[in-house]
Every structure is written in C-alpha cells, then in structure tokens.
Assembly symmetry: C2
Homo-oligomer: 432 residues x 2
C-alpha cells in the first residue's frame, strides 16, 4: 500500500518548481506554471532524477529529453514495466495533471524498497517531455518520438507558440532542450535504440466531470478519443476604423468571430468538441481593422470517422464565411483563409489484458461499484505507448471536473487509492 | 504655390525614419511604422525641428512633447496661425497619414521664404504628439493636453497597449517621453502657459472613399464625427478542451466571438461603426479554454446622441450574451464582463469662418466642382484645436479610400493642390 502522506508531500513540495497563481490562503492553494523545457521544468526533472537514483534506480535521458528511471528485477534481460506521466504543465495549470502520475511512480519505488520486493523483470518510472503541447504545439511529444509517430527532426525546429517576456523572438525546442541540458545521448525512437518497455501504466486525474458526477473513485481507461490541432490564418485588409464604411472592409476578425461561433454549433451537432485557445490579431491597434487574424483550433471526437466528418463540416463553415464576407462588398480584396493541421492523434484503444489487470486491481482496492470503464477525452502519453507495449490507465476524480486551471484539485485519499491500483497492476503485470 | 517636388521629396525621404512593410518594387512602395515616442519617432522629430530652424523658425517643445516651429511676422505680439498635424504612425501605417500635413507646413515656410513674404502675425507649424493613439491608447493626445480636454497627469502613467519585442513589460508614456528627450519644459495646457494659437489649419488625406468615389480633389472639412474607445474584459473559467463538455464551460472567447458579430449588426442598424482592432486570450494555450479575453472596441457615430444610443444597445448585447452563456450550463461560474471607457471624442464642429476660407481658397486653386464639404470619420488634432481657436481642415483623396495600411497612397498633384489650399488659407486668415 502506498503511503498517502508521502505521495501527498511529493505532489505539493515539488509545486515550488513553477509556483502558479494563488487562489486561497492554504499553502497548497496555488496552481502550477511549469511550461516544458523552462528553468522550472529543469528543476522538477532534476528532483525526479535525484529522487529515483536515491531509491536505487539507474537514470537514462534520451534525445527528446524523456527521463527513464529503472529499478532492477530478478531478470534484467527483459524490458521494464513502467509507470509514467509528465512533469510539465499548462501556463496556468494545476498541481495534479501529470505530476500525480510521476509521483505515483516514485511512491511505487518506495513501496517496493520498503517491502524488500524483488520484481521478476525490472520496473521503472518515466517522465515524458512536453506532454501538454502548451509551449511547443505538439502534445504527447516525448512519447510520440519514442513510439515513432512523431519525427524528432520535425519537432526539433518547432517554435514556441508565444514569445516569453524579455525574449526578442520565439525559441525552438532544440535550443531549449540544450539550454536546460536535457538533450540526452540515447536515441529516443524505440526502433533506433530507444529504451524498451514491457508495459506502461499511467495514473491521472480524469480532468472531466464523469467520476465526480457518478460518485465513483476509479476509472479503468480503455482508450482515448481522436483529436487534431490546426493553425488557422484569416487574411483581410487593414483599414481605418473611423473612415471605412462596412461595405469597404474585409475584416478578418469579424469573420473569425462568426466562424468561431459557427464551429461551436457544428461540433455540438456532431457530438464532438471544438475549442479556440489562442487568438492574435495583426497589427493590433485600436483604430485599425486587422489585416490578419490567427487562431488555434482543437477538434475532438470519440471516433476517427466522426472526427473526419466534423472537420469536413468545419471546413465548409470557413468556405461559407468566405462567401458571405464578400456579399455586398465594394472592394476587390477577398477574405483568404488557411487551415494547417499541426498535430493529429487518432483514437487509441488500450490492450484488453492491461485494462483488465487495472480493473481487477481496482476491485480489490475500492470495490466493484466504485469503478467504471472510460474513454479519455484528453490525450496522454499512454496513447503513444499503447502502440508499442501493453498499456492501461487509471483515472481518479478531480474537483468539479476542472483541469488546466490553477484550482485543479484531487483528494488525497483518491490519489492514494489510484496509486495503489497502479502498484498492484504493475506487480500483476510483472508476474505474467 | 507649393513646389510639388519639394513636398514629395520631404514625404518620401522622411519615410526612412521607421520604414514599413514593402509592397512593391518602387522605392516609395513601403509603408511607415513609426509608433509614437519610439527611436524612429525621435528621428522624425529631430528632422522636423532642424528643418524648421534652418528655415528661420524658433522651436518650442512642451511638456507632452508637442513641437512648435514659429516664423516671426510683422507683429509678434499676437499668437501665430499654425499649420499642424503629426509625424507618428500606426504600427503598419502608410506614408501620408499625418506626415502630409506636417510636410505641407514645412513647404509653406519655404514658399514664404522664397517669396520674401512677411505675414501680419507670426505663422507656425506644429507636430502633435501621439495623434494615432496606436501605442498609448488615447488618440489626439498632444492636442488634447494642449486644449485642456485631456489631463497630462492621467496620460503620463498610461501604458502602451503591447509589450514591444525584447521588453520585459509595458512602458509608460512619461518614461518614453524622457527616453527620447522630448519632455519639454514649457507646460502643454494652453491655460497653464501653453503656446497660444490664432488659428489651426490641417491638411490630411481623407482616409476614406468619398473623394475617390466622387472624383473630386478637395474636401473642406467642417467637422468630425463622435467616437469612443473601450477596453472590454470577459472572464469565464479556464478548463481542458478535451475533457470538458460544452455545458460545463464558461468560454469567454466563444462569448467574445458572438458579441463581436452582434455588435457589428447593432452598429449597422444604427448607421454607426464598431470595430475591434486588438484581441487577447489568456492563458493562450491550444488545449485550454481561455479564462479571460480582452478586446478593444472603437465605436463611432456622426452625432453625440447617435453614439450614446448605439453604445446603450451595444451594452445590451453584452448583457444578452451573459444571459445566453448561462442557459443550460451545469456550472456555478458565470460569464463576467467589464466595459471600460478609455477615450472619448465628442462630435466636433469647425468654425464657419475658417471653413469658408478653406472653401474660397480651394475654389481658386481647383475650381468649384472639384470641392465638397465633408464630416471627417477619423479624429484629427483639429478636433482639439477647434475648442480653442479658429480651425478648419483640407482633405485630399487617397487611393481606394485605404488608410492605416502600408499601401495607403495619395497622388503627388493632389498633395500639392492641398498644400496650396492650406497656404492660401493661412495667408487669408493672417490678413484678417
Ligand atoms: N492530459 C492532458 O492534459 N494532456 C494534454 C493533451 C491534450 O490536449 O489532451
Ligand atoms: N487621422 C487618424 O488616423 N487619426 C487617428 C484617430 C482616429 O482613430 O480617428
């Protein structure tokens, strides 16, 4: 059994590496602001590597900065069974998203050591790079490069989405990997000598309202919905806000507004999700109608086919607005748009054996009625590991279903129960 | 008569102080990017002061950075008659907006000198600070402080609207006035010892399509429409784009989109204008629904009463969206909004005597049928001077009615004709 207090201490004591917005007086009432490959991310990584070494692990860093801690077993000629998640956060994220899963892995190491448990094969804990995709816009990046779905060359030159304060321009992923000294020598891709895995078990907060609503403690996650990210650029023509009658304008921000409202309706109709998180207007002056507007589009659906249909209709929404923006206009300029796919994660289906192991372990710990199976709305590194090894996930409830927010919160007993499920699952899997 | 070539040379040779976006191969085919109180603005100001001194003027700088060049007349105990406009530009502005008016003033000085003309009273040229309001969000600022409609204390602490590249944070107006060394000793406000004016004549491109459409060369401007600027802030709640069903979201960007589209319809209905030039979403991450969205709102109407009615209905649009955003929601959070007025310029009506002088001068130069009277859609420093002295404006056509855009363009002969109208108007007014 996990020590609930030790786990809780790890979660909150590491929050100092990128302390976020304060929302209450209790010392734990701040969010986490730990964008990947920043100085704060380096501090969290250093804590992880040091702690794992002190618990008897060897630590390997690969070429995309993934950090693997491995505890030897009886037979070390087989790949390790890993517990993994990520230590990076959203710009204004919470204390649990990712961190809980890594701390559960550290807690597993302690439980094994305290009980003098020797596993059949080695077991490990992995901290994946840039799971969030919040700074460099590819989510689950480290596990993606490891599994071979994402090319290291392509993402190396990826630029961050915002210029951070004090910088002259956007940094690339490679510059920042170098800068925090986590560009490891070991090639990341599994098929080029990456660290092999027998299995991957991940504990995470649900990040949505289903467990909280049903009053259950554990979800055995058997898959993840499909999603794609796009950069959208709308180009019109800058003009004076005071002298230019509406018929003489091609206003890309007005068109963006109409499209954003329409895309929401289209996603609702298709039972999918569509969200805009970033928007910028150029040149950015109160009395100039923008020349160009760019925004992000995050589109999700439970099935790959459903996602394709939704995206096709969203493309028609753009086409439609382009047509309408021209109607009655006294200008030769037309609204131009460009929709570029920047990231795609097809629907994932986890290994039934691993999911059953999670379910069985959960039954022992929390009882039958406290468990449900669930498809995850969010992407997780387990999506990528599931392509290469047995993978399953455990969700625990989070307050009000809120995540990617400073007030994201999970109860101590739920975190501990989830960790127990993970430890038991790893031990069962290791036995097989 | 103005030398059309000399005038043209001034306009284009000074464009090197803040060269803008290139849009064609001809050396003149770039825009102008000269935000107020930047290094480039300093260079343009230095050129202005040096040139005016070389033409026999004394130069005074006041506490808001306005630069007054004065050429003595026969009787120097009376205030000077000024030609004035501004040398600052939009972030991606054109070569004529403001610059034409200042260069017309410099050309007037040359014509007077070349022809050994002694005026009754002194005449002058003034370069007003921050007419655009594009960097510090108060337009016609220098003339506003001079006329007493804007308080110097209030604007001193105003911050720029965007953090410029390489900066850690936003600078204040006072810091930047100091930085370029244009914080003059002379108090700016007229009633506190500011530079007195007998009259103010301003040449400007129309910035809209009316002259181009009618095929006329000159407008005698007899007033300016009313406008107000607002900062709008919409607060919702950040959450995960992949796990949060729509009914659990309070998405301030979706609400902003609906409001922006609706405000456009409301302005159309009221025969007014409403425009959004700046928009920002926090925290700015692809997979986080924003917690907060802020945008600018520029609202205009020909009459003060019409503007008030339009704004009242726009406020109802916000209220309405706040109500609709709550419908069917499974969350206690509600959409919050804050609409702060940051600038107001009531409708201006110029002195009939000064407008008639412009009209008479224009008739001599370009003929009756080439002239119309016009209300300006844009604000100009003449709005503020008209509260303190006889004021009138001259508009010349600009290509496609386009302004606040790098491709803003006026023909050489139209610029010269406008300058002739200004010179004749000043001489007629000086005689009175
Ligand atoms: N768990 C999580 O927040 N992952 C980020 C990737 C996504 O957007 O789903
Ligand atoms: N002329 C001009 O562009 N003035 C800026 C103030 C305004 O927005 O009308």
């Amino acid at each position: 059994r996990a020590s609930s207090d030790r786990l809780w201490h790890d979660i909150h004591s590491t929050a100092k590496y990128g302390i976020g917005e304060r929302y209450g007086n209790h010392p734990h009432q701040t969010g986490l602001s730990r964008l990947t490959l920043t100085e704060h991310d380096k501090q969290a990584r250093d804590w992880f590597a040091k702690t794992a070494r002190s618990l008897g692990c060897t630590v390997e860093i690969d070429s995309i900065g993934n950090v693997f801690a491995i505890r030897p077993g009886l037979n070390n000629n087989v790949p390790a069974t890993f517990v993994g998640s990520h230590l990076d956060s959203q710009p204004t994220g919470g204390r649990f998203d990712g961190v809980l899963g890594v701390c559960a892995g550290i807690e597993m190491l302690r439980v094994l050591n305290d009980n003098w448990i020797e596993t059949e094969g080695p077991v490990g804990v992995v901290n994946w790079t840039n799971e969030e995709g919040a700074r460099f816009p590819v989510s689950m990046m480290g596990s993606g490069v490891w599994s071979g779905t994402i090319s290291q060359e392509e993402v190396s030159h990826l630029k961050e989405v915002n210029v951070l304060p004090g910088q002259q321009e956007k940094k690339t992923l490679e510059e920042e990997l170098n800068n925090i000294q986590y560009l490891g020598a070991n090639p990341a891709p599994l098929n080029q000598g990456g660290i092999p895995m027998a299995g991957h078990f991940e504990l995470h907060i649900e990040q949505g309202p289903r467990l909280i609503t049903s009053g259950q403690q554990i979800a055995a996650v058997n898959g993840v919905q499909a999603y794609k990210w796009f950069n959208v650029k709308l180009t019109g023509r800058a003009c004076h806000t005071g002298t230019t009658p509406f018929q003489y304008r091609i206003d890309p921000l007005l068109s963006a507004a109409k499209i954003i409202a329409q895309v929401h309706n289209t996603a609702t109709k298709h039972n999918g999700l569509a969200s805009v998180g970033i928007i910028n207007a150029e040149p950015g002056s109160i009395n100039t109608v923008p020349s160009q507007v760019s925004f992000s589009l995050d589109i999700r659906h439970e099935t790959d086919a459903g996602l394709d249909q939704l995206i096709a209709e969203i493309r028609r929404d753009f086409w439609n607005e382009q047509y309408l923006a021209q109607r009655g206009r006294r200008t030769a300029t037309t609204l131009q748009y460009d929709i570029t796919e920047i990231f795609s994660s097809p629907a994932a289906h986890f290994d039934e054996v691993a999911v059953s192991i999670v379910e069985e372990s959960a039954k022992d710990i929390t009882g039958d009625s406290n468990i449900q199976r669930m498809i995850s709305g969010a992407g997780h590194d387990s999506v990528n590991t599931s392509k290469q090894c047995s993978t399953a996930m455990v969700f625990v409830p989070c307050k009000d279903g809120i995540s990617h927010h400073p007030e994201e919160w999970a109860e101590q007993e739920d975190c501990a129960a989830g960790t127990d499920v993970i430890i038991h699952s790893v031990l069962k899997f290791d036995k097989m």
